[in-house]
Amino acid sequence: MTRVAFAALLGHWRRNPMQLFTLLAGLALATALWSGVQAINAEARASYDAAAATLGEGQFDRLTRRDGQPIRQETYVLLRRSGWLVSPVIEGRLHDVQIVGVDPLTAPGRLAPTAIAGTGDLGRFIAGRIVAAPDVTLDGAVTDPDIAPQTAIGDIGTVQKLLGRTGELDALIVAQNQPLKQANLADIAPELRRRVAQTGSDISRLTDSFHLNLSAFGLLSFAVGIFIVHGAIGLAFEQRRGTVRTLRALGVPLRLMVVLMASELLGLAIVAGIIGVGLGYLIAGALLPDVAATLQGLYGANVSGTLQLRPIWGLTGMGIAVGGTAVAAGGALWKLSRMPLLAGAQPRALAVAAGRGARLQAAVAIGLLALAGILVVVGGGVVTGFVLLGALLLGAALALPLVLSVVLIFASRQATGVISGWFWADTRQQLPGLSLALMALLLAMAANIGVSTMVSSFRLTFVGFLDQRLTSELYVTADNPAQAAQIAAFANTRVDAVLPVLETDVTISDFPAELFGNRDNAAFRDNWTFLAAADTPWDRIHQGDAILINEQLSRRAGLKVGDSVTVADIPFEIVGIYGDYGNPAGQAIISRGRFQDLYPDVTSARFGLRLPPENVAEFVTEMESAIGVPASNTINQAGIKAFSLGVFDRTFTVTAALNVLTLAVAGFAILMSLLTLTAMRVPQLAPAWAMGLTRRNLGALELLRTLLLASFTAIIALPLGLALAWVLLAVINVAAFGWRLPMYLFPADYARLGGFAILAASVAALWPALRLARTPPADLLKVFSNER
């Protein structure tokens, strides 16, 4: 009995391979996008963890010099002999590889075993062996897969020699258990300061938002895919009503029916999940190099450019495929269990049933939109922001069929002719079947509009910001204080202005921040714009009692213009807040004179030089021949701008790719819905055909219908997309980064997107329309002779 019933159920797929394809493809695509994004995130996180463990970040405190100079080796020995259990670390770059030197005997954490276990010999490590990550090529290095990407580890003496920095150290890692007695740090090494370990590595905190955005995209794609699956399952259920009725009449118990359907869906979900995970791997592999380059450029994070197979995202992909199917099928299985034994398969019943559920749907939609509204007022924080986003999108999607239905009712009242009257009525009847596909289209379009608005606003603001902040035409870095003095002296007479960069790390209102001491220069006065400022802020700064802070610091510490903060125990009044896009840290500016009073031992290692742009190249060559500063230590403003914009554009290549994929999934959803509905449409079209509408007309009307519905959806998608953009810019960006971008509108972009969406919809509708136009007249006639 079971076998027969199961075969009867499965027979449906054999007769309707298109539906089976819809179901599998929809689920597979959705799973692919989700697991692809998760694979990228998992790879990045593994890289961050490896990198953090290499330097003991997140677990151990570090000692570094206040002025950023290297620590002398004698200081390390002095600390050890004074009872401090610290371990030396030196880092540098050698041919694009980050090379780290550690002392295996004193290093806490994972450093030493990682470095030595691969080689098995402490003696050889001390004698000069280097252990490198698999993606690194260095002469004589041994490979160890556990090492962070683009990183190599060596003994501290070896690395000192390789970097030409014998006797220098960059940081001292403080072990967790210190001895009973130790000397006071301020007494024995006052130039050092202790940085407390932060939970989670620096890099993973910086990039959290980036990965959260990727995850959100994956989730959105998955939701769209689940819509498709829901539609396919619902349709399969409706079409099998007759079969189910017959089977139950023959004596198959209801419970068995439900179990069989559930297991059939489970099997399909697993198959689709496997395909999806495989596809996701391919997508991730294709996108990962761009993501890695973005992260390297934006945050200096080293992420492996090759994807490793990690079971975690394969398993979550399968889990979410099965789970998504369960959610999508829940409704259908519930209906099945409540269905009266002799209920027939009536297409009109579909619409009627939909009408009953419509009130519930409206209530849920309004509830979600209200929730979104409340969260805008009340909420803060990134997670609340995403919940708000989800509520907004879901509420709008659920409301779409109702809105369209109202529009169609209105349009049908305006209809004057018979054909137009029939057209609108038929469209209204079609709506429930198409609504899921249209919801998917709405979400995809809104996401496109929202994200592209955000990206374009970002780019516009960023370009203007770069113009404002990169005031000098040329930037030079000195290798040591002696060279810095030489550069200053050389440049003094040859350029319009020398703007040395004086910088140190401080704590303002309990938040870490970078403090800059700026010279007075027209470049600042003319170009800088403030988000909020007192009168004549630059004058106040150079009087010496005032400070400027960036937006991030003002938001995080809750500071406004006019508040007072202390730096190195001296009070300063805040006279201005400036935008500082892309900087995760706090920042503050005081006058150069005051800075030198407070931190006399800090010297400039970088200089901004103002000179006419056409003289830059000549100046660089002169400087190289006169004082030996290589051209690689200089960068001109045009170079920085091009680099920044390049990184920027690369970042959003990833989102652009995901945008296109999501739109493709929505287009696919429309195609599948139309195809599956076509078979059911014949009884409704037959009377119209019998009364004189040619099949060609019918096909054309079908196409027109889809275009109209898609256009309406596009029109509704526009305000939704703008709302989405606003939430991203004003809520999520602020919560995640601490700064707010102004929102700009780009009507040309929207028109283009709308055009693409409608094009996608019409391409999707073409095939079903053609099939309809080619329906054999015999099939249409059969309707009247009850042979269907």
């Binding site: 050890r80 002999r81 005997l105 030595i116 402490l122 501290i156 001895p179």
Partner: protein
């Protein structure tokens, strides 16, 4: 397996696999080997001998506080050479390890330090004599060390005579001829303060310094040793050890109160375990019967605290003992290879 253990096992150079306890029976290619009839020069020989593979400055002390409670104290500095050729700075093959411990009747505190040679973090200078690792120090007048939960700061008084073991300082360890240079200063007067969790304790007593250096002190079949340093109430002292391998090899030095030393040949000194105790998951004998017929010695040696396990990179048992039988006194016991 702990990280530090892993590192330390790699430290002592192993040819393929560990031979003897802690690899001390491993290959000694390129290193200098002790030879019979040595002449010692002081202060030079108080310092390091980098052409030998392994060396230590080993101090144990039996102390009492004002109430008469027994304490044991240990301060050890090991030097190990990864290769016979020396180097400068970080590339020197000399590695240093420090072990320090305090044993009370109820508790045992132990800590360890590791350091590279060549940069000044650890080392020994012969004149003026100074041995240090991190903030731990041993000079002619001072002995100090700290750990996370304890520390000590001791003053050394009269250092007493120097005693040479074996044949004039050439101490044989097995019938195959493995040997080391070995001398002691067992009569050091010591007093100072122990910093314990319950507070500081003023103590005084006698300390025993062992100095030993060699390149292959063990035969490959020898799994460990039991070493006794006993100070009897009449002022005489006994140093005795037995090496456990395919055969048991024993050696001892009888030290008169004025410092005259009599070397005992293999088999004269006998030590028999009397009772096993479970310590750190191992079966360890903390009560022994020690006999030396040549001096009519028959005593029972019992640990003051059974739990004196040194949980260091290379673990072993070391703690103060009480001597009873036909002589009484105090002493120190070290057991390795359990």
């Amino acid at each position: 397996m702990s990280v530090k253990l892993f590192i330390f096992l790699l430290w002592l150079p192993v040819a393929g696999f560990a031979q003897g306890f802690a690899g001390l029976g491993g290959s000694a290619e390129g290193f200098a080997m002790p030879a019979p009839n040595p002449t010692f020069q002081f202060p030079k020989d108080a310092g390091a001998h980098p052409d030998y593979k392994i060396e230590w400055w080993y101090i144990t002390a039996n102390l009492k506080d004002a109430q008469g409670t027994d304490y044991g104290l240990q301060w050890t500095l090991f030097r190990s050479a990864l290769a016979p050729e020396d180097g400068t700075g970080w590339s020197t093959p000399q590695l240093w390890m420090g072990n320090a411990a305090i044993t009370t009747p109820d508790a045992h505190f132990v800590t360890e330090r590791l350091a590279r040679g060549g940069i000044g973090q650890a080392g020994v200078t012969p004149a003026p004599f100074s041995a240090w690792i991190d903030d731990w120090l041993f000079t002619d007048t001072q002995l100090s060390a700290t750990g996370p939960d304890f520390g000590f700061d001791m003053t050394l008084g009269d250092l007493g005579p120097t005693v040479f073991h074996g044949e004039g300082g050439y101490s044989v360890k097995s019938t195959s001829g493995q040997a080391s240079y070995y001398y002691s200063k067992p009569f050091i007067q010591i007093s100072g303060t122990l910093s314990l969790p319950q507070g500081d304790v003023a103590v005084s007593g006698q300390a025993w310094l062992d100095r030993e250096w060699s390149s292959q002190p063990l035969a490959s079949d020898q799994t460990g040793w039991d070493w006794f340093s006993l100070s009897f109430d009449d002022g005489a002292k006994l140093m005795g050890f037995q090496l456990r391998g395919d055969d048991t090899y024993t050696s001892a030095s009888w030290i008169d109160p004025d410092g005259t030393t009599t070397a005992m040949e293999n088999g004269a000194f006998q030590a028999r375990p009397l009772g096993m105790v479970e310590v750190a998951g191992r079966q360890v004998p903390t009560t022994w019967q020690v006999t030396l017929p040549a001096k009519s010695l028959d005593v029972t040696v019992r640990a003051i605290n059974d739990a004196a396990w040194m949980a260091t990179s290379v673990p072993y048992w070391e703690g103060p003992v009480i001597v009873s039988g036909n002589r009484q006194g105090r002493g120190y016991l070290e057991m390795t290879g359990y």
